[in-house]
């Protein structure tokens, strides 16, 4: 067992100087104490929205490559979204995925589909999936347009004590490839109006009010959505939401180079929309930050902008991106809480805080070291990140899952 000491231990809320006991020693059985000085010690990060592409799309990612990538990003808990092939929409498929996930190094939590095949027509066996341990239900990638079915899904989910994680996108208004606005006009790219999202958010709020179900709005990206959710929370409605880290860093105007690795859904926000996401984080309207890790193979993204699929990988750059966001004015403690204690509380799961319990999830991070995002350093099977080929500040030195080292920087030999 190794006891770690650092002057920068983040307990889930704030930094302090502490000694924590913790992890298995690679070298010896004897108890030792290591002083990490000013290196950051964080609870293992919790990323509540990711695509592991397993089963059925394993040329993009699978449970093993995905969780190795997560560990490389300091993440020890990931939520796997069900838009796989086939969709995770039965107890059997949940069990299949969790048996594979058990062989990976970190904690994979499974989100089950709301409807069979995520087709929006018939409810999936939510009760049985709950029995198999899902953390929530989502037709992620599709909005469940049928409001009656959506209502019943919420009623079912609340009875099971689980949230509906809603992908809010009104399908008649979508159909574009970037956020509609001056830059979509200038770049000649078909626009997605912001109302496509906020109309759907408003529907979910009203249904949550009706059913009292917990509805979690995924990857909120517009000003109007944040304002609607803020008001709903004020009204005591059981609605929560998260933002994707990429939406805090990039904007519609950044698509001038038609780089398909910046093509994401929901699309990159306008300046005004992004500003409101920051306000929402600060005032607590936004509950969590996600990576929305969405791998696509190089050949799938190496096509024309409007032909390319939507998605950016995010596990391995999440913490560095949060550092960049903090440079734009949000306190780093707030941002770190949104990937640790806040999502743990939101979904009622373990982790996200530093406790006296030995063998917990921990991440050791050097905020000043730099690394190059490259074929040599990435663990994901995919390369669809705007940071590819760039040097980033902030390096994960080691990640421990239940006390076991699941990632270690090859040049860092301290533990």
């Amino acid at each position: 067992m190794v006891k770690i000491k650092s002057s920068k231990i983040f307990d889930g809320e704030r930094f302090s100087e502490k000694t924590v006991l913790l992890v298995e020693s690679a070298s010896s059985k004897a108890e030792q104490e290591i002083d990490l000085n000013e290196l950051w010690v964080l609870p293992g990060l919790i990323d509540t929205h990711a695509h592991l592409r397993d089963p059925g799309q394993i040329w993009r990612e699978d449970v093993f490559s995905g969780t190795r990538a997560a560990a490389h990003g300091g993440i020890t808990t990931v939520f796997s979204m069900p838009n796989t092939t086939p969709a995770i929409d039965t107890e059997q498929s949940v069990e299949y995925l969790s048996s594979r996930a058990k062989r990976s190094g970190i904690n994979v939590r499974i989100v089950g589909a709301i409807t069979k095949g995520r087709e929006g027509k018939e409810l999936a066996e939510m009760g049985r999936m709950a029995r198999a341990g899902v953390v929530g239900f989502s037709d992620d990638g599709n909005f469940l347009l049928d409001s009656s079915l959506a209502r019943h899904a919420m009623e079912y989910a609340s009875e099971l004590g689980l949230p509906i994680i809603s992908h809010c996108e009104e399908p008649y208004l979508k159909g574009g490839h970037m956020r509609e606005g001056w830059y979509s006009t200038l770049y000649g790219v078909d626009g997605i109006p912001p109302a496509a999202e906020s109309i759907a958010v408003a529907r979910e709020i009203e249904l949550s009010y009706l059913t009292k179900a917990h509805v979690h709005i995924a990857h909120v990206s517009t000003q109007r959505s944040v304002k609607l959710i803020r008001q709903a929370k004020k009204d005591g409605i059981n609605v929560t939401c998260d933002v994707c880290v990429h939406h805090l860093l990039f904007r519609d105007e950044d698509l001038a180079d038609y780089d398909t690795s910046k093509k994401i859904n929901p699309p990159l926000p306008t300046h005004e929309d992004q500003t409101e996401l920051y306000v929402g984080l600060e005032d607590g309207t936004v509950d969590a930050i996600i990576s929305d890790h969405a791998p696509y193979a190089v050949h799938e993204k190496e096509v024309e902008f409007q032909t390319a699929p939507f998605g950016i990988i995010g596990f391995e750059t999440l913490l560095d991106e949060l550092l960049m966001v903090s440079e734009r004015g949000l306190p780093i403690e707030l941002l770190l809480s949104k990937v640790t204690s806040a999502p743990a509380k939101l979904y009622g799961i373990e982790g996200g805080i530093i406790t006296e319990t030995p063998l917990s999830d921990l991440t050791i991070f050097d905020p000043n070291a730099e690394w190059l995002v490259s074929d040599e350093t990435l663990f994901s099977k995919s390369r669809n990140t705007p940071f590819f080929g760039k040097s980033l500040k902030g390096k994960i030195l080691a990640t421990f899952s239940r006390g076991k080292k699941v990632y270690g920087d090859p040049k860092w030999n301290v533990m």
Partner: protein, 311 residues
């Protein structure tokens, strides 16, 4: 001044001086087009490839004629005869063509940004012949040339562009060129087909044609794609024609020397009535001739011509 080696992704890669250089070069080439033997050896030994990922007979032929008048070898690639249907990627297609030794590509593609993507895989000069609704710089140059030829300058000209601005790459490139050269531009069309933020181009926006054409020196119609009706962009062609069609009355409201322009092909009876299309105001056929002359100028100048010895 030289634009040799410059990729023409849109008009904003050019300075006003370079635009005038292109106009002046085009003027000389237009003389060539009037000769009994319409050919000069300026680009002998150069290979121009037209890459058409979207069908377009007019623009492709205009480039082909322009290149042939300059004695370049021209090869054509279009999707109907290409391997793209067999699942070959854009990247592989370009790498294959590039290995054959192309000096200049002319690309038309439904995707915005595709000329820049093409440039990632080639060292040849790239000329954008229309990428989605983003840009159509050679149309803007021929439009600007047509106005320059008629009025002697673009400065302070009042240009009113009427129709479906939202889906128009012509309007997007025209406005950039015209504003750069000091013209005043008005966009006129239904709100459904007016893209967001156009005021950032520095244009006036109008939904009333009679207001918009007052004091205009140029009235330009845009092609209305008939399938827009099903998207709810307008109700009926008849109503559209009544509210936004360009009629003789509009020409009379404009300045006495005003001209009518249209990038073609025209929907007679929709965005313009035949009486205007075939009138003395109309520069539509002149635009086609000027298209060849300005494309000759662009091919010549980007492939290294400096204004000397082209005859």
């Amino acid at each position: 001044m030289s634009i040799a080696g410059k990729d023409i992704f849109d008009v904003d890669v050019l300075t006003p001086e370079e635009v005038i250089l292109i106009f002046e070069t085009a003027k000389e080439f237009k003389e060539v087009l009037k000769r009994p033997i319409k050919k000069v050896p300026a680009l002998r030994g150069k290979t121009v490839c037209t890459l058409f990922f979207e069908p377009s007979t007019r623009t492709r032929m205009s480039f082909e004629v322009a290149a042939k008048r300059l004695n370049a070898d021209v090869v054509n690639f279009s999707t109907s005869t290409s391997s793209l249907k067999k699942g070959e990627s854009f990247k592989d297609t370009i790498k294959t063509l590039d290995a054959m030794g192309i000096d200049l590509y002319v690309i038309r593609h439904k995707e915005p940004g595709s000329p820049m993507m093409l440039k990632k895989y080639t060292d040849a000069v790239v000329i954008n012949a229309g990428d989605g609704v983003r840009a159509h710089p050679t149309q803007a140059i021929l439009d600007g040339y047509t106005m320059w030829e008629k009025f002697g300058t673009l400065k302070d000209l009042n240009v009113t562009i009427v129709g479906d601005i939202l889906h128009s790459r012509v309007a997007r490139s025209d406005v950039k060129l015209l504003k750069m050269m000091g013209a005043n531009v008005t966009f006129c069309g239904p709100k459904t087909m007016m893209p967001l933020g156009v005021e950032n181009y520095g244009v006036k926006v109008s939904h009333n044609v009679k207001e918009a054409v007052k004091n205009a020196d140029v009235i330009m119609g845009l092609r209305m794609q008939l399938e827009r009706q099903s998207g709810g962009f307008f109700s009926t062609l008849d109503e559209y024609n009544e509210f936004y069609g360009i009629t003789t009355e509009m020409m009379e409201l404009a300045n006495p020397t005003a001209i009518f322009m249209h990038p073609g092909p025209m929907n007679r009876g929709v965005e313009v009535i035949t009486k205007v299309a075939d009138s003395k105001f109309s520069k539509v056929e002149e635009q086609v001739t000027n298209g060849v002359a300005t494309r000759m100028a662009l091919l010549y100048l980007t492939l290294g011509g400096n204004g000397d010895g082209k005859n």
